[in-house]
Amino acid sequence: MALAIILVVLLIGSTIFQFVNPWSATPVASNWGSIDNIIVITSVITGIFFVGITLFVVYALVKFRHRGPSENGQHQASYEPDSKKLEWWLTGITTVGICALLAPGLVVYDDFVHVPEGATEVEVVGKQWMWSFRLPGEDGKLGHAKVKLIGMDNPFGLDPDDPNGQDDLLINTNVLHLPIDKPVKMVLRSLDVLHNFYVPQIRAKMDMVPGQVSYFWFTPTKEGRYEILCAEYCGVAHYNMKGHMIIDSAENYQAWLSEQPTFASSLVSGSDDGGVEQGRQLAESSGCFACHSIDGSKSLGPTWKGLFGKTEVLMDGTTVVADEAYLKESITDPNAKMVKDYAPVMVAYPLSDSQLDALVEYIKSTP
């Protein structure tokens, strides 16, 4: 009896919870509201089965509970034969229910795998633990890229001999702008391990796999600033691999677009600022910012803001001044002198002397 009552309570509670809970999906900001509709259909059909079957169990538990020893020598339980007919009916109803889920689902999925003609290609590049992006430029084509070509001055690994790549726009930050109402094909590339480009409001997501290119498409339908998350475990700072996607009006997008450097211009630039810019690029390409902020906020590692010259308290209680020697040692042998309250999660970065100098110059430059 108690079990039957509790099951009814759970059923009522779960149903109320389904309709009254503060954790509904984020407001959709793409054309994939159609996926939400399939979720609703699925919830309704599975909900009917859930409630129906549970109520049947409840009824059986109450009606056929043991009522003490039988008086007339008859067994309480009936010895009924199997009912083939009932089994086929149930199989049939289940099959209909399954088809009602699958058919509309596959229709929308068909939509998902077919990228509409004229969709703009946007490349997303993932690496531990940061995002960067590449737009095709005026020719509308992305140039060829290869991991082996990646270097200090070529963080995307673009082929300098490919004419299609010369006008590609390189966005070497975590922020991507897209114009509203224009379908985009997100071309996904990873330089190291698996990642997944995930914006909850867009609904669609896809893994990024090193050694191959994957894709998905969507049409942004709502202006705004959305968080980009990594949804495929990619190592210790996976949870911190943040970015932003900004859906702009057409004018604002054009304004932003015109400020982005092309690959060709990035090849010829190279101002002499004592290595600060080189250090910044190095920090970016090495993923330092996943764990070290430059705005003073707390993260996996100490912030670089005002770090140079600061006195840090180490794990063993001693103190050290963050001078050039200490910074270099901490890059090449991170666990040698650990700052108090931080975990030993950093790996050693075997940088060359000139790279070390540049990086330290950059850290110095973050006041």
């Binding site: 079990l3 919870f17 809970n21 954790w23 509904s24 999906a25 984020t26 996926i35 399939i38 979720i39 699925t42 089965f49 859930f50 079957i53 169990v57 059986a60 056929f64 043991h66 067994h75 309480q76 339980a77 009936s78 010895y79 009924e80 199997d82 009932l86 149930l90 399954i98 889920l101 699958l102 689902g105 596959l106 690496k127 531990q128 991991v147 082996k148 990646i150 190291d192 909850p200 997501k205 896809m206 090193p210 050694g211 191959q212 994957s214 968080e227 990594c230 949804a231 495929e232 475990y233 190592g235 700072a237 996976h238 949870y239 911190n240 943040k242 090495s286 996996l300 790996v347 075997p350």
Partner: protein, 581 residues
């Protein structure tokens, strides 16, 4: 079944020394208990790890030592231990070993020595696994799926030694599972006693039999991928490693495919779900039948459903990979096969429910667990229809919806069966009953607690909260209420975890001080309850093997005095025992 004649003639050699009886034992029952105790020990470690993780998720920063490294290590070890070293080992090595020979009327497994090797290889694999807690860098934090390249590159905890020990441990475990598995399959095929036709076997045996076949076919895929990843890690081959950088530096890897690993892993991994589920399906069918004094509804359909699920489980694996970057056209095929598998699964649920119908339901602790299993499995199975339908999986994959789904369907549901089965078969194993009152407390806290943990968790997934996040407080789209819900879930999880002390206490206490049960306290009809001694001794059946005259579900037969007829009762004996009506 020529083997049966030989088995009967064989002299019963009884082991005498302590060592041959309890340590290097070749008795399937002792081996089963060894398997179970090791598995439960590993499971307790995994339970503690999950409590540590939940503390971080519900109350970020509350544990001093819980940094991101430790969190991911706990997460990985929790998952791997629970799936492989607890559930697989317990269902096949534990219940499979104990039940098969007793239920089919065999003296032992057909290869007792190999059976003994199996448990010691399993023990070795657990030792290797636990050793990884003590090596430099600690255990691997690659996630239980061990996806390369990340599993073996810098930036993942335990990439120094932990991942190597994990892979070696898995290889040793697979050797153990293979030695055990060959035994179970051969015993079922060759060593059934007189009259024990395939369709007179209890569904428990059918479930374990089919699960073992799956294990024998699926584990090799994990084995080869483990070997290949070991080579990638140790001598620099590139099976799974493409041209890539690591921590900003170029690597020597080139030409491998990370997705190849995922295919191999899930070719093992999806059948693995049914390696755990099919024995649970079988055992729950038997418990429901015994405690509602009624035959299993649609026995033949149940057998066919087990076989169909087993076969289909090999062509659904890529539903774990809808967003992996594989060719998206695969999605059509795998969504269809995945939803087809829901049909035989639904048939099983209907037949369990219809077994209760018009029964004589005794509200014993095993029955409570059985009904709780139906409810939990139903909830978890239905959410599987969300994730199997490829387009719905796309927003939900890698969120807490997935975590909630698989914990309900292959975590909590099978564990409820484990509990129900232990309460049910404990009297046969020890000759003593487990304490009912403690059992009830344990049941209510576990059943309601796990529902409180996992039901609301689905909604975090709908919200879009990603799984495998050490800390998600910095994301703006996640409202404070979601973090509050996580705190609630953590509290529920800690209560459920702590309540397992009741179970452990009940087991230990009842094993020595429990009420004596007699040979067949539940008045069950299947063969394992008809042994001449309780607990059964070495060789199980004394001088003569039992002869089976009927199927194992003759409950409430009209015109018979008792409401059950044991499998080894002949028609003549039954006739003599009939009451006039």
């Amino acid at each position: 079944m020529a083997y049966v004649h030989d088995a009967e003639k064989e002299a019963l050699h009884q082991p005498h020394s302590f060592w041959s009886k309890y340590v290097w034992s070749q008795d399937h029952k002792v081996i089963a208990i060894q398997y179970s105790l090791i598995a439960i020990f590993a499971g307790i470690i995994a339970l503690v790890l999950s409590a540590m993780m939940r503390m971080q998720i519900g109350f970020p920063g509350s544990l001093e030592f819980m940094d991101a490294n430790t969190y991911y290590q706990a997460m990985t070890m929790h998952g791997m231990i629970m799936v492989i070293y607890l559930l697989t080992a317990l269902f096949l090595g534990g219940f499979g070993n104990y039940m098969i020979p007793l239920m089919v009327g065999a003296r032992d497994m057909v290869f007792p020595f190999v059976n003994m090797l199996s448990v010691w290889f399993y023990f070795l694999s657990v030792i290797i696994l636990l050793a990884s807690f003590f090596v430099p860098g600690g255990p691997t934090g690659a996630g239980w799926t061990l996806y390369p390249p990340q599993a073996i590159t810098a930036g993942t905890p335990g990439m120094e030694w932990g991942i190597i020990l994990m892979l070696v441990s898995l290889l040793v475990f697979i050797i153990a599972a293979t030695m055990g598995g060959l035994n179970y399959v051969t015993t079922v095929i060759q060593a059934r006693t007189y009259g024990m036709t395939l369709l007179r076997m209890p569904l428990t045996v059918w479930g374990i039999f089919m699960a073992t076949i799956l294990a024998l076919l699926a584990f090799p895929a994990l084995f080869v991928s483990g070997v290949m990843m070991l080579l990638d890690r140790t001598i620099g081959t590139s099976f799974f490693m493409p041209e890539m950088i690591s921590m900003g530096q170029q690597t020597d890897y080139d030409g491998g495919s990370p997705i190849l690993f995922q295919h191999l892993f899930w070719f093992f991994g999806h059948p693995e779900v049914y390696i755990v589920a099919l024995p649970a399906f079988g055992m729950i069918s038997d418990i429901l039948s015994v405690h509602s004094r009624k035959k299993v509804f649609g026995y033949k359909m149940m057998v066919w459903a087990i076989v169909a699920i087993g076969v289909l489980s090999f062509i659904v694996w890529a539903h774990h990979m809808y967003v992996s970057g594989m060719n998206p056209y695969f999605g059509f095929f795998f969504a269809t096969t995945t939803l087809i598998i829901a049909v035989p699964t639904a048939i099983k649920v209907y037949n369990w429910v219809l077994t209760l119908w018009k029964g004589d339901i005794h509200m014993t602790v095993p029955l409570l667990f059985a009904v709780a299993f139906i409810f939990t499995f139903l909830a978890g199975g239905l959410t599987g229809l969300f994730l199997g339908n490829v387009i719905v999986d796309i927003p939900l994959s890698d969120t807490y919806f997935v975590v909630a789904h698989f914990h309900m369907v292959m975590g909590v549901a099978p564990v409820l069966v484990v509990f129900g089965s232990i309460y049910h078969w404990f009297p046969k194993i020890t000759g003593r009953m487990m304490n009912d009152k403690i059992g009830m407390w344990h049941f209510w806290i576990t059943f309601l607690g796990t529902y409180a943990i996992y039901f609301p968790m689905h909604y975090l997934g709908i919200l879009g909260m990603p799984r495998r996040y050490y800390d998600s407080t910095a994301y703006e789209f996640i409202p404070q209420s979601a973090h509050d819900l996580n705190a609630f879930i953590t509290i529920a999880a800690l209560i459920v975890g702590a309540a397992q002390v009741l179970f452990i206490y009940n087991m230990i206490h009842s094993a020595f001080k429990g009420k004596e049960s007699g040979p067949n306290p539940w008045n069950a009809a299947s063969l394992e309850w008809q042994t001449p001694q309780t607990p059964p001794v070495h060789g199980n059946w004394g001088e003569k093997l039992p002869v089976v005259h009927r199927w194992p579900y003759d409950y409430s037969v009209p015109g018979v005095k008792e409401d059950f007829v044991p499998q080894n009762v002949s028609e003549q004996e039954l006739e003599a025992n009939k009451v006039k009506l």
